[in-house]
Amino acid sequence: MTPEFLIGNITLFVLAIFLGFELITKVPATLHTPLMSGANAISGISIIGALIGANVAYDSGNTEISGILAFVAVVLAMINVVGGFLVTNRMLNMIAGKKRRGA
């Protein structure tokens, strides 16, 4: 890891934080919960890190511990992502009243 690479990442980090602060200004109370839920699904982005970590050979019983840990991370992150977006979608459909009960 070169200092340039680190500085580049820190730049991304700081700029993205500023962007995040500006992105959300006035949100009607109705949308607070769906917005929280949608943002929560996006925080499941750690699925990328989990996938990279879980990309190790599977050898029953002898798989590296780090691989197993990353595998658990894949499962948890995937629940967060799939469940999060779906549940947000359900909420929004109900609020907008497009779909009816049982949908």
């Binding site: 949308l31 929560n40 925080s43 990328i48 890190g49 996938l51 780090s66 991370a73 894949v74």
Partner: protein
């Protein structure tokens, strides 16, 4: 990293940004959510393709993990009742935080397993980022799990219902600070000794404990704020994890969620007229001295209320947490239909920004019962209509209608409330005269124009509907 991989991550980051932006407006919100999901798909596909193209893809763990996680997530999201939504969001959030922390742990585990330990700057960055990711990630997991059980109100163990405790003496606050400092010290120590498992497990253990002591003192009414804060934290955890593996997608998306989640937390606090510091450190709601009740009020019955509603031109329904608990939104809708057909009454709903367990909780419940969106009016708009309203029907709401908030004293001071007391007659459906989360007696209950229907929301609404049918 290949150039096109970076471009793929850039595309997904752009989709996240647009998605979050659109999620903030009612009309575009569903589209915004889909954009977010698309961004996630792009990020996952980019990662998998880059592995496949590099020729070192190992599919067993990845495929099984994706399939298993998707299946569980799908089932949970589809089967959940609308009333259980807040708990589910808290649970998902905990999983997200844990996933970030596990990725960090997995990287450190590689060193322990005998992998090459980097040196110099890379080691420092990795250990600091991994430590912070662990701190925030594990804290998010335990905090979210506790928040979930607080939202549920308790947990059933061997058929016995155990109430989730709320406990927070003031000496707990310096303890929280101490725990954070000790993690910081452990992270510093671990830079010189990256494979020391004592440091590693201590960091994890303290972080888990921190999540619990952070949420334990906070009362149920403040839970939405806490879940929102934890959501922000899980984003930050993902960003820190991004620093460890040098991945731009994690850094951008993580810090976006971290920052926007924090803003959302502040917006929620503002709606309750509280500061974040008050929520986190002042332990209000649920705990503390509750005012003992000395006054009494004679209850009314459904027939009496039904007769009074007959002839009303305008009725405003004020739902609160009690409606969510008794799940009586369908009865409420039936009631609204009945009186608008039979008595030609105009019906509106007054939605307090923090009514229920989550902001927007009432909207979701009433939407589930097919109440038209146009009838749900936010507090600021509807308050001017109460003086010309014949009957205000308060269903399981307490603090959000308490006139004591206007007095400028006590825990509710300054909280915006629904002016139900301005209506000509007020009907309150509630189990008892007991105080709400703020622990303040509600003068509204004792007014001469107030009629109390003591009982469970569902039973009372059903009774009221039957009484109206008989008129």
């Amino acid at each position: 990293m290949e150039d096109w991989v970076a471009l793929g991550y850039l595309l997904s980051a752009a989709l996240f940004i647009f998605g979050l932006k659109k999620l903030g407006h009612p009309r575009t919100a569903p589209f915004g959510n889909q954009l977010g999901a698309l961004g996630m798909l792009v990020a996952v596909l980019t990662t998998i393709f880059s592995m496949q193209l590099a020729g070192d893809a190992e599919w067993v763990l990845i495929g099984a993990g994706i399939a298993l996680g998707s299946l569980i997530g799908y089932i949970m999201a589809v089967r959940v009742q609308m009333t259980g939504m807040p708990e589910l969001v808290a649970l998902f959030n905990g999983f997200g935080g844990a996933a970030s922390a596990l990725v960090a742990l997995s990287e450190i585990q590689k060193y322990i397993d005998g992998g090459t330990v980097p040196a110099g700057l890379e080691l420092t960055v990795t250990m600091v980022a991994a430590g912070l990711s662990a701190l925030v990630g594990w804290m998010t997991l335990t905090g979210s799990l506790l928040a979930m059980y607080k939202l549920k109100g308790g947990v059933s163990v061997f058929g016995k219902w155990i109430k989730t405790p709320t406990w927070g003496p003031s000496w707990l606050n310096p303890v929280k600070v101490l725990l954070v400092i000790s993690v910081a010290v452990l992270i510093y120590l671990s830079i010189d000794d990256p494979t020391n498992t004592t440091y590693l497990w201590s960091i994890i253990g303290i972080s888990c404990l921190l999540g619990i002591v952070l949420v334990l003192p906070i009362g149920g009414a403040d839970m939405p704020v806490v879940v929102s804060l934890l959501n922000s934290l899980s984003g930050i955890a993902a960003a820190f994890t991004g620093f460890i593996i040098g991945n731009s997608a994690l850094i951008i998306a993580g810090s976006l969620v971290g920052a926007s989640g924090l803003i959302l937390t502040f917006i929620m606090c503002k709606a309750m007229n509280r500061t974040l510091a008050d929520v986190l450190f002042k332990s209000f709601g649920g705990s503390g001295e509750k005012e003992s009740l000395t006054r009494t009020k004679v209850g009314s019955d459904a027939d009496e209320v039904a007769m009074m509603i007959d002839g009303a031109q305008k009725v405003i329904i004020v739902p609160g947490y009690g409606m969510a608990v008794s799940q009586c939104q369908h009865q409420v809708k039936e009631f609204a239909d009945l009186i608008s057909e039979k008595f030609d009454t105009e019906v509106k709903y007054a939605i307090h920004p923090v009514a229920g367990r989550m902001p927007g909780h009432m909207n979701v419940l009433l939407a589930e019962a097919n109440v038209p969106y146009e009838q749900l009016i936010e507090m600021d708009e509807i308050n001017s209509e109460f003086p010309e309203c014949d009957v205000a029907i308060v269903i399981g709401a307490n603090d959000t209608t308490n006139p004591a908030a206007r007095s400028g004293e006590g825990p509710l001071a300054g909280m915006p409330i629904i002016d139900a007391d301005a209506a000509r007659t007020v009907v309150i459906i509630k189990r008892s005269l007991s105080v709400g989360y703020a622990g303040v007696d509600n003068d509204l209950f004792y007014m001469d124009k107030t009629m109390m229907l003591f009982g469970d929301g569902k039973a009372m609404m059903t009774g009221l509907n039957n009484a109206i049918k008989e008129i």
